[in-house]
Symmetry: C2
Subunit: 529 residues, 2 copies
């Protein structure tokens, strides 16, 4: 069963090794484990539902609690400390577009706020029930069928609530893949990916969800918005782009047609080390601008590299690897690049060779597939580390942005520095490291992780997080980054959105949402503050 | 000097050979040349300007006539027959964003409709002055500088009025290219490409303008909308996508930042013939879905192939070629595929080889570069054929759409058939042929040309065109195509737009435009009917 107050399935544990814990202790001090609130204790806080009865709505407190929050750190704090606050007045599980239509009509009739939910993996506060009006979470995960596969056009139509693994399983059975693998893959849904402009780990070959989403159906308060599929069009602004990233503010996506491709015959992940950041950044920029047929480039900075090596286990092997790297000039300060290839073997191996050639002048040392296979094994497992860290008294949070190349290193330093300063105010250290998770000819996403000690008390931990989040977010916007490259806006990033959208951009989005949702019942408070 | 009533520069003539004329005569009968109205005669029809004076506005009738219309067939009919109708009350030539701002403020103050214009190459009625309120054409072509080149991020910022050749010249001088080559390249502008979602002949490697347009500035009646550049973002709907295809309805783009790439070291265009359409279509679908590093795929149907061979000149050479093709199984019904490659020689030649391998099982016969080089020489010249054809009493018009693969052939037959039926009502034949101009894994654009005889009188020729246009457009929408893949909507396609956008899509766009342009002064009547 899915954890109610943490990541993933209750049966999956991903422990921190003694070495990893020692590494953390040395960096930021000993964590003190905190006792979690019990499920029943949290449930008892759920207020009586204010919703008129409806055939699709469940108002049981347990169900409402399990659908009340996402995976952001403040969501965790509320669940772990048992400070639930607002929760939706009910949860509906529609099974058809007509069900969704009925729920929207019901919500309009009774003035109920609707919160669309996929797998509940938001890390930006998309799922929080608003204070005031009654609210209803619309859990889409029962709409999960592959409805149509057009192999000639390589298009697949799914119910929008399909979870990542179910989507891939249905496609793989027919020889196809979508290729969208965000770290949340196991618990996130196609509709959620579209609504938050998600990006997967292999977006370099498969594209972001924006490139995959070819059409679909959205139920809005004003009626159904049907988005037909065309290979391309010059017929006015692209309506799909208004739905992508709309975070439930204009309606609920019920069906989505996505571009699929034949499942790759061959896939491999290789690691290359560089002596320092400057060399590594130049190399990856040249590789991505060469337009080679790679499926992933992921560059860790020095501290992330050290951290990954410390967490990798196989201490002896890693020590041998580090010895070898040192001989080849990659000592302290070395940075690890992961290169993925997916596709026809001859084609992608040629691309890999070309990429490796480009690494050489920058001191790149190719160490083969071991670290890459390690990464692949754990690609959806690393999120479980949040559970393990918490149990030892540590919080893990991340922020991410994207900037053009001249600002990439500046941004990385600024975000890490802001975190250090913010937690320094509390007399705390932060173990902070960064990787470029998605590379583009134009620039890169900058994905920074923070590990720091829990205070052990809700208000104090919320204060720490707020200080950290605000400092990191201000560093992002003041250095010209977008407030999110892949997590979306939700409630947590909404205060920073105007910095990039501008006054007119914000008012235009508002005008659009108000047109389609005149009563303002669709996920109020998210995206636009 | 630019022709006032036809395509291109007055000094450039592109004659129809005797063979080509005989070919046309045989197909659709002899054309009767029509006497053109004189420039002075047309000028005399321009009514007195109703505009209050402004430092940037020229109200001379000659200037207004030269900026009154585009290149659609009804535009031509008005100019050729001297039936000018409405014309703008003035033409402004802004040289800065502040100038544009001033003009918008002026227009709001005096209730003047603004018609943004780039190179005036619209073939969909984007530039027509509305009846009623006074109107002002804002000619953007003086804003044409390369303002900034960021080689690290491969981004270039231009004044939005820069013409294709000026843009490429400024980039090539620095070793870069945009790679956007619509057939209108010589006279169309960056701003026009963005405003109409243009696509160039080599979009297969360089992308459509949607992929190139990374940011910029738009002056709207409500103020300036600034679009920052990010490599990617999950921060809500993408505002650039509201500007792309907005056709002047929400403001005027003053600056655009576009993705550029190093100019290709090597470029070549090869021709492959197939025995018939079915074989050819299957082959190109497999090639495009293989994701090879090609820069162009362009497949002509049988009659377009015959027409291109008839127009190619070098009768003897073509006859030898046809003899050879016939021996290899490509006889009547053969279809020509043009394959372009651009980039590093080793890389793109490998891609070409792979593509050719995929043509073999479908009876593809590679004939080398001769036809490809011919095509390349004339890539921006074929539009001049409209002048030549007109002088012999023939009209040339085109329609284009895009559909998913299962509908490509159906669409081609439907559009051609609709044209034959429409002109049949007038007892006229139409020489109609089609190519797939842009190929996608999902489907293709379907680009159909019509050559037919002029009636020799304005009203009759307008009636012929209207019947043809409506029949072709209805064929497009009733077969699930977009009303435009690359020409935009303008006034001519506006009646068909609701078929794809739907009621809610149309009202959403209207809400957005009304928000940014509450007085409705921005290019009224275009895009939305």
């Amino acid at each position: 069963m899915k954890r109610w107050n943490g990541w993933g399935d209750e049966s999956v544990e991903f422990a921190l090794s003694a070495e990893a814990l020692a590494f953390l202790r040395q960096g930021i001090g000993s964590g003190k484990p905190v006792a979690d609130a019990a499920f029943g204790q949290a449930c008892a806080q759920i207020a009586e539902s204010r919703l008129p009865a409806h055939r699709l709505i469940d108002t049981a407190p347990e169900v409402r609690l399990r659908n009340a929050l996402g995976q952001s750190l403040p969501d965790w704090l509320r669940l772990r400390y048992g400070v639930i606050g607002t929760a939706p007045d009910g949860v509906a599980y529609p099974e058809s577009a007509q069900d969704v239509r009925d729920l929207i009509d019901y919500a309009q009739q009774y003035g109920v706020a609707l919160i669309p939910q996929g797998g509940g993996t938001s890390v930006a506060g998309h799922l929080t029930a608003p204070a005031g009006a009654p609210s209803l979470t619309v859990n889409m995960t029962r709409m999960r069928q592959l409805l149509y596969l057009d192999t000639e056009s390589q298009l697949a139509t799914f119910g929008a609530g399909v979870l990542g693994p179910d989507l891939e399983a249905q496609l793989r059975a027919r020889g196809y893949t979508l290729g969208h693998f965000p770290q949340s893959f196991e618990y996130s849904t196609l509709g959620g990916w579209v609504a938050t402009r998600s990006s997967g780990q292999q977006s370099l070959c498969y594209g972001r969800i924006e490139q995959m989403f070819r059409g679909g159906s959205v139920e809005t308060p004003l009626g159904t918005l049907h988005l037909p599929t065309f290979p391309a069009s010059a017929a006015g602004p692209d309506l799909r782009e208004m739905v992508l990233g709309s975070e439930g503010r204009l309606g609920i996506l019920t069906e989505a047609t996505v571009r699929v491709t034949p499942a790759p015959a061959y896939e491999a992940f290789h690691a290359v080390f560089f002596p320092d950041w400057a060399a590594a950044e130049t190399a990856v920029r040249q590789i991505v601008q060469a337009g080679l047929a790679l499926s992933m480039l992921r560059l860790s900075n020095a501290l992330e590299t050290t951290t990954m090596l410390a967490l990798a286990g196989h201490k002896k092997l890693i020590s041998l690897l580090e010895g070898y790297l040192s001989l080849r000039g990659c000592k302290e300060g070395k940075c690890m690049l992961m290169i993925g290839v997916s596709g026809r073997k001859s084609l992608v191996r040629a691309a890999l060779r070309e990429a490796l050639v480009l690494t050489s002048p920058h001191g790149g040392v190719h160490v083969g597939r071991y670290m890459g296979e390690k990464w692949k094994q754990n690609r959806f497992r690393n999120v479980y580390l949040r559970n393990a860290a918490w149990s030892h008294g540590y919080a893990i949070d991340t922020v991410e942005t994207a900037v053009d190349w001249p600002r990439v290193e500046v941004m990385m330093r600024a975000v890490e520095g802001a975190a250090v300063a913010a937690l320094g105010q509390f007399g705390e250290q932060v173990h902070t490291y960064t990787h470029l998770s998605h590379l583009y000819a134009q620039g890169a996403s900058v994905y920074t992780t923070f590990v720091y000690r829990l205070a052990g008390e809700y208000e104090s931990d919320l204060a720490r997080w707020k200080a950290l989040k605000n400092a990191a977010s201000m560093a992002i916007v003041s250095n010209g980054g977008t407030i999110s490259h892949q997590h979306g806006v939700g409630a947590d990033h909404a205060p920073y959105l105007a910095a990039e959208k501008g006054r007119l951009g914000m008012s235009s989005l508002r005008a659009l949402f108000e047109h389609l949702d005149p009563q303002g019942i669709m996920n109020p408070g998210k995206l636009l503050p």
